[in-house]
Structure formats: C-alpha cells, structure tokens
C-alpha cells in the first residue's frame, strides 16, 4: 500500500494536498498497489479525497490532533504504516511535513527524500532539488519503506469522480505523546502562501524603498499574485522576512515570477529558477537576471509597472465579460 499524509485546511484540501494524492496514486498505479490517505484531527468530506486517486482514508478523529505535535503525528503515521504494511509514505514538502516526515523516517528506518520534483523510477530513484534550486540530485532510497516529501507545484492534479472509503482509525496515545501546546496562530488571510503560489510579484533594491511597494501591491492584486522580495530588501526591513526568496530564503516554483528591480544574483536565482515563466523588469541592461528570464522589459520600474498593471486590468476586464 502507498500512504499519503493529507492536511485539511478549514474544511478544504489545498492544491498541494491534491497534488500529493495524485502523485501517490500514480506511484500506486506504477507499482500495482492500493493508495490510502492518512488524515489526523477533525475533518470532513473525506470521501472526496477519492477524487484525486485514493481508495481509502484512514481518519484519526482526535481533537488533540487538530494542532501539530510532531511526536503524536509520528506515532499515528507509524502505527498506520505498520498495520497496513505500507511500502511508501508521501508528504507535501511543507512546514508540517518538515517536522513529521524525518521523525517517521528515523522511527521506521525508512529512507526519506525531501523536495522531490518528479515520480520515482522503477528502482525508486527520485529526482530532488539540491543546492537550494541550483541543481537536482537523483537520490536512491535503499530501505524497504520509502518516504517522499514532494515540492508544491511539481506534479499535476489528476481528478476523477471516484469516492474513497473512510475508515475510523484508533491510535493508542498516551499523555507523553502530547507535549507541545499551541498558544496562538497568526495567519495572513486571503493570500496564497509563497510556497504554493502560482503567480508571484517580487521586488528588489531597485524599488528604492518600502514606500514604493504600492505599485507592486497593485500589480499583485490585479492578477491575484503573492508578493516576494530579494534578500537585501528583507535585510533592510523594507519587507517581512517571510517574503524573502532565494538561497537563504524560500525556494519557490510558481507558474509566473515577475521580478522588478532585482539584478539576479546567483543566490536569488537559485530560489526562483524553477519558476515556469520569468518576467524581468529592470533598467540595467547588464542585470544578470535577463539571462535567466523568458520575457524582459528594459526600463524604469516606476513607469513600466503601473503601465503593465493597467494593461493587465484591461486584459482582465475584456476576458471576464
């Protein structure tokens, strides 16, 4: 059996979850094994996970699991893996799986590939991102049980009308399994997190100061993009650290990355060069970023960006009517 760990988010399943279920189901098909999801904590509409290719859902309906405690999550996933004699466990490469997948790996002595970007081959060799996006490695998992954490935006969703069978799963927790207490959660509402964003608008030092970010915000709002920035911008506190993309920030792979006033240093390119389409707006013809771009505009950001935003608004108006 192939297992896939799925997180529910306010009653819905995020795109990244749909991607990993489709990915797990493809491995199941490849190796002629059934695929099942693991869902921890309160959740609803779990039958619908069948739409993306799982036949079963093991649901541990325990309110203590509504919040992450990596010890408790690990115990649940390990127990289900052992009971089902599963051969592989798939995670989405996100903040929860970074705390849980390595624990499961250590407990089961199951080799783990973090940051996979494609399906494993017949020898379970998996391609993964290394050097923060500067290269890829083909990594072989030698243990009987294999664990893969798939990068978001790396696998296309396969949807059907099938429903999954939901099985209530019991885990023998004891008090020592829950040690972390969540005091508060602070989430920016209504914005797709950078790691999952399909469209990203990013600004660099060429923006000259935080007071000029309104033109990038307008551009981002127009197309529903998430904002990002280069390292000097985050280090100067023009923008929050979580917007920093690059080798020591986030590594992202959106469909569209629009870089404004970013020269394109090697560390920055590492974090964004997996983007499917890159647009560079810069007034320096020598900016190295142009070499890594699909489309470029040589010009002053403060003139080009508002014009570009207007053109996009016009395009959107004509396409929505």
């Amino acid at each position: 059996m192939i297992l896939v760990f799925v997180e529910q988010n306010n009653g819905t399943f995020k795109k990244a979850s749909q991607e990993i279920i489709s990915y797990a189901a493809a491995i199941g098909k490849q190796t002629s094994q059934p695929t099942a999801a693991i869902v921890l904590g309160e959740a609803n509409n779990l039958e619908a996970l069948g739409n993306y290719g799982v036949q079963k859902v093991f649901h541990v309906n325990d309110t203590r699991l509504n919040q992450l405690d990596s010890k408790a999550y690990t115990k649940a996933i390990v127990q289900i893996t052992q009971e089902q004699n599963a051969g592989a466990i798939i995670f989405s490469n996100n903040s929860t799986s970074k705390a849980v997948a390595p624990r499961v790996s250590a407990k089961l002595k199951a080799g783990l590939v973090v940051g996979a970007v494609s399906l494993p081959d017949e020898n379970f060799i998996v391609k993964k991102s290394v050097f923060s996006g500067k290269a890829f490695a083909k990594m072989k998992i030698n243990s009987p049980i294999k664990i893969i954490a798939l990068n978001p935006n790396s696998y296309s969703i396969q949807k059907s009308a099938d429903n999954a069978e939901v099985i209530a799963q019991n885990i023998n927790f004891d008090n020592t399994d829950f040690t972390v207490k969540v005091q508060s959660t602070n989430k920016v509402q209504g914005i797709v997190p950078l790691s999952e964003a399909e469209l990203v608008v990013s600004g660099g030092r060429g923006m000259k100061g935080p007071e000029n970010w309104n033109i990038l915000e307008d551009l981002a709002t127009t197309i529903g993009a998430t904002l990002a920035c280069s390292r000097p911008v985050a280090d100067s506190h023009w923008r929050p650290h979580h917007e920093h993309v690059g080798q020591t920030g986030g590594t992202i792979r959106p469909n569209l990355y629009i870089a404004v006033g970013i020269s394109g240093a090697i560390q920055h390119l590492a974090g964004v060069n997996s983007s499917k389409t890159i647009v560079v707006i810069n007034k320096d013809p020598e900016a190295p970023f142009f070499k890594a771009a699909d489309y470029g505009i040589l010009g002053d950001a403060f003139e080009v960006v508002p014009k570009f935003t207007e053109a996009l608004k016009k395009y959107k108006a004509s396409h929505s009517s």
Partner: protein, 247 residues
Amino acid sequence: MKILVCLTKAPDTTTKISFTENDSKLNEAGVQWIINPYDEWYSLVRALELKEAGIATDVHIISVGKADVEPIIRKALAIGGDEAIRIDADSNDSFFIASQIAEYAKANQYELVMTGKESIDYNNSSIGAMIAELLDRPFISHVLNFNIQNGETTSVREIEGGEETDTCPLPLVISCQKGLAEQRIPNMRGIMASRTKPLKVVPASNSEPLTEIISYEMPPQKSGVKMISPDNVDELVKLLHEEAKVI
C-alpha cells in the same frame, strides 16, 4: 542547562555549482566552505545569547565530518561556543548524521539541541526532527523566536502564510529559521581563544545510510529572453496569455 548546536559545512552561497565524475560528485575545485548559514547566524548565535542571559550554562558545537570541517568548527568556537565535538565520518545521508549526533547527545545529556532549518546544499531539513525522534523528544521546526523561562520554552515558528506560538517543556530539539538572531562576526579575542578551546574527535558509530545520491543534473537552460519595449506592455500581457499561458 547544556545546549548542543549542530553545524554542517556548506558551499558559500555565491558558489557556481558544477559536477564531476560523470555528474556523480560535486566539483569542489574552488569551492569556499562556510558554516551553513542557518546553523551559524541563527542557531549558534541564539544559543550564545541564552548563555549570556544566564539561561544556558554550556554551548557545545557538534559536526559530523572529516578533518576538513575543522576550520568551520574553529570559526564557530571563535564566535563563542565553549567546546566542540567532531564525529569522524563523511556522509550526506540525513539518518546516518542524525544517528551520530543523537547518540552523542543521549550520552551527554543536553536539554536543548539546536539545528538550522536546513542545510543550503542538500536542503533535506531533516536532521533536527530525526534527532528528536531518536531521543524521543518534542521538536519545533523553523523557529523565528525562542525563549526559556523556568524550564518552559516558548517558540514562534513559521507556518505557511503565518506564524504559530508554541510552548513546550525542556528537553527539546528545535530547528532555526532566519530572524531568530542577528549574525555575529568573530572578533580577534574570540579567534585567539578558539585555538585553545577543546575540539574532541569521536569515532562514528555503526549506522546504515538509508539513501544515496546516484547522480546530479543542472536545471534546463532558458532558451533566451524575449525583450519587449517598455512602451508595449500590451504585448507582454498577450505573450503571457497566449504563449506562456500563465494568466
């Protein structure tokens, strides 16, 4: 309270990555090795701050590597660790490395083990959580803010699109994200002192690697940039819609 800070070496962030031996090995010619930035700037410095605040008594540094990691260990000692341990093995398998560190940590009773959120070479982001499992301890990842009061820790950790504040008793393992502390440059006194601080070399114990890297490849090259006049942004919109199909 004793803290164990885990370090690894990583190629300097400006390194142009290339491979040798049929793309099976990193080409190390000309590579400048540094302390993995997350290990140094955030994890190590926060550990030192906890010592300076009188919360921690000892800050020990551990790295799994051959003799060539000693320069970065000495640098960490110059920034301020009390003593260092090098486990004599060369591996890029996370489980192997975590097993070595966990074994040492278990024998030497560290209440807090700290790692960077990931290394910038293999980006596995795994060592901390694996150590936590091997020590049967709680683990908090991507910590942006960390404090200890009366044996109870408070961590702010990064989650998708936001932050979460967690409390948890010691002993604990955490992985450190950018923002947890400010980078420090070692001063001359630190550099002099680091030369005589203890650096213990410990043989590696038996542990099977669970993964191996078969080969490397570079990302596909872009076919070339299409330049568009700044007076013709409509053309860019059209290309993004019709050619790139991203809007």
